[in-house]
């Protein structure tokens, strides 16, 4: 949980938050059996926002962002993503999933397919993109994450950092309007963390709406426009990064920050 220094200058020209609402969560509750994981979550995310979600282990961060593309089902409340309300209707769910990219802690690449096939699979089958076009787009995004030369290898032949960048490219190939990241760097060694964070910063610079669960406080400080602190299934506090780190309001936030930043 170090504070990783991000060396390069961040270009903020395109990082603009619009008035358009990307995600709206109202009064959302979720239980695992009798266990109340998420309690009365209210959150509005505008197009172009870069949100970092932080909090102690088991506080429900993963569960929250997994509810946004229906990987987990919520029992109460309303979630609207990009104008579509999440309901039990499978058509809605598939639509939202194809609009929202997700990057996992353990990459979840498909080991039986090459890197290129990993990237073209969903565009071809879900979006019905012609194969040639899908491959061109995949190569474009693989170049963007700086590994076009690995296109014909299998995931098992790549390093962790490379795999995570492929996972990001794979999501981008679906041209999502929103990207969700669930601890994308916690399974990686320090050098690899940097290459993945660089990719994420580039995405932010292009104006992508991002929700990111991470312990990389350097990233939160410099890239996020809002930091959300969760504890015990609740949103305890949210603020701009400067305020959040320098002037935390609740005791729990202070405790968490002192632990994670080590002062």
């Amino acid at each position: 949980m170090s504070e990783l220094a991000i060396e390069r200058e961040i270009d903020r020209t395109k990082m603009q938050v619009s008035d358009e609402v990307a995600i709206e969560i109202t009064g959302m509750n979720k239980w695992y059996g009798a266990f109340h994981v998420l309690r009365d979550i209210n959150l509005t995310v505008n197009q172009g926002e870069r949100i970092v979600i932080a909090g102690p282990s088991g506080s429900g961060k993963s569960t929250l962002i997994r509810c946004l593309n229906a990987l987990e089902e919520h029992q109460q409340g309303r979630i609207e993503v990009d104008g579509t309300v999440l309901s039990n209707d499978l058509k809605n769910i598939d639509k939202i999933r194809s609009e929202v990219g997700m990057v996992f802690q353990h990459f979840n690449l498909f080991p039986h397919l090459t890197i290129l096939e990993n990237c073209t699979l969903a565009p071809i089958w879900v979006r019905k993109t012609p194969r040639r076009e899908a491959e061109e787009r995949a190569m474009h995004f693989l170049e963007k994450v700086k590994i076009p030369e690995q296109a014909d290898k299998y995931p098992g032949q790549l390093s962790g950092g490379q795999q995570q960048r492929v996972a990001i490219a794979r999501s981008l190939c679906m041209m999502p309007r929103i990207m969700l990241f669930d601890e994308p760097t916690s399974a990686l060694d320090p050098e690899m963390i940097k290459e993945v964070l660089d990719t994420m910063i580039e995405l932010a610079e292009e104006g992508m709406t991002m929700l990111c669960v991470t312990h990389e406080m350097g990233f939160a400080r410099q890239v996020a426009n809002r930091v959300i602190f969760m504890d015990a299934g609740q949103i305890v506090e949210q603020n701009e990064p400067e305020e959040f780190f320098n002037n935390p309001q609740s005791e729990r936030t202070k405790l968490f920050l002192s632990q994670i930043l080590g002062h």
Binding site: N69, L71, L90, D94, K95, R97, S98, V100, G101, M102, F104, H106, F107, N108, L109, F110, P111, H112, L121, A122, W125, V126, Y154, P155, G156, Q157, R170, S171, M174
Partner: protein, 434 residues
């Protein structure tokens, strides 16, 4: 010839440096005599191998190939080696091998099962060696299930065409209804339409078409089928059909739909809990009680259905093992990209689950192929049944070993090929560690 000793001294000079560590001597020392205990085991094993081979090799090779009866065989043995002990009488195979391969199939029609077998190998090629064979061959693969029964049983050409039409009708009903109603209802009604067509309507249509335009080849009755051909026929059908059914059952067992789930669990557990031989007796005797009198439900078809269901239940469990071995992240990865259930299954889950299950799947294949010999108990003349029939003939009364050695060799060739293919496939699908 006397130059041999000269050549040997040359080689010795070249071999001296590594001496006992490399080469054959080194290998032998490391692997066979690396300690007194290993040395003793090696000697015992060598003696056992020698003992077995010294019995079998002369039996196989000092044998009689031409004779018309066992008695004649023994006379030749007495005349040649002075004893009948330790010599095989292959004359029985020489005399009856066609019958052991084809049963009572009419001999002027042997070309039909042979052609069916050749076509089978060609039709399998695009599946087994997908990247080395033109994919156009898949059309033959698709046509084969209809072509094969036509070749084997003969009769009117309208039979297989009408059977194929059943699929077309089912598909048509499914595509129309799944758009207008729900996908599941469309599927159920599509299957129902196919079954109704096969069981009720197609009989009349085939009869009518046959009287208008009688095209066909000579018909062969099921009771004329037999020999190793029958094993291959039953094995191929059971293997080919049980794999897809097994996949569906394995998926059904994991389904969230409770009715589907418990139907699948019930089916799998019932079939696995019952010996195959009972199912075969049900096929041969009991089914007649339930079917309306006068229905002509072919015995081989009944046996095929039972063997297929039996092997499908095992297949389902093997594949379920493969599914369970997949990390949850694979499902989530597929879901998060917006793939629907069937796409995720077909493109992501099944290719990996099947790959993991290859050894188990092939074991099930081999098992069901060998279990085809059980049909001899319900009176079909497969190779085992025929070997009894051959012994019942006074000429060959009392001959056992040669017949069973031959049958064993036939099965071994097929089963060993399957096993080797599965190893090739596992190597081919290896895509680096995860």
């Amino acid at each position: 010839m006397s130059d041999v000793s000269f050549v040997r001294t040359e080689m010795l000079q070249e071999q001296t440096p590594p001496a006992s560590e490399v080469g054959i001597i080194g290998w032998v020392r490391h692997n066979l005599f690396s300690g007194w205990f290993n040395s003793i085991l090696t000697l015992i094993s060598l003696y056992a191998i020698y003992y077995v081979l010294s019995g079998i090799v002369p039996w196989i090779f000092q044998s009689v190939w031409n004779a018309n009866s066992l008695t004649e065989c023994r006379e030749i043995m007495m005349a040649t080696w002075g004893s009948t002990h330790g010599h095989a009488c292959w004359a029985v195979i020489n005399d009856r091998w066609l019958q052991m391969l084809f049963g009572f199939y009419p001999d002027h029609l042997y070309w039909r099962p042979i052609l069916a077998l050749v076509l089978l190998l060609i039709a399998l090629a695009p599946i087994l060696y997908s990247e080395r064979v033109p994919s156009k061959l898949l059309y033959l693969t698709a046509a084969y299930p209809f072509l094969m029964p036509f070749l084997m049983w003969g009769g009117t050409i309208w039979g297989p065409i009408s059977a194929a039409l059943g699929f077309v009708i089912g598909w048509g009903v499914y595509t129309v209804l799944s758009k207008q109603l729900s996908g599941l209802l469309g599927l159920v009604l599509g299957v129902l339409a196919t079954v109704i067509w096969w069981l009720v309507l197609s009989g009349y249509v085939v009869g009518a078409m046959d009287s208008i335009l009688p095209i066909g080849i000579e018909a062969v009755q099921s009771r004329q089928f037999g020999g190793f051909m029958l094993a291959i026929l039953l094995g191929v059908v059971a293997i080919g059909v049980s794999l897809p059914i097994g996949i569906v059952l394995a998926l059904g067992r994991q389904s969230d739909l409770l009715i589907v789930k418990y139907l699948c669990v019930g089916f799998i557990e019932f079939i696995r809990g019952v010996p195959l031989i009972t199912l075969l007796f049900v096929a041969s005797l009991l089914l007649n009680l339930f079917l309306p009198p006068g229905t002509n439900f072919d015995i081989i078809l009944r046996v095929m259905i039972m063997m297929t269901l039996f092997s499908a239940a095992y297949m389902a469990e093997v594949i379920r093992g493969g599914l369970a071995a997949l990390p949850r992240g694979q499902y989530e990865g597929a879901d998060s990209l917006g793939l629907n259930y069937w796409q995720a299954q077909r493109l992501i889950i099944m290719p990996q689950a099947l790959k993991i299950s290859i050894p188990g799947i092939v074991s099930t294949f081999i098992g069901i192929f060998k279990d085809t010999t059980l049909v001899s108990i319900i009176g079909l003349f497969d190779v085992i049944g025929l070997s009894s029939a051959i012994r019942a003939d006074t000429a060959w009364n009392g001959i056992y070993w040669e017949l069973f050695a031959f049958i064993g060799a036939l099965f071994f060739v097929v089963c060993f090929s399957m096993s080797r293919y599965s190893m090739y496939l596992e190597r081919k699908l290896q895509t680096g560690h995860r």
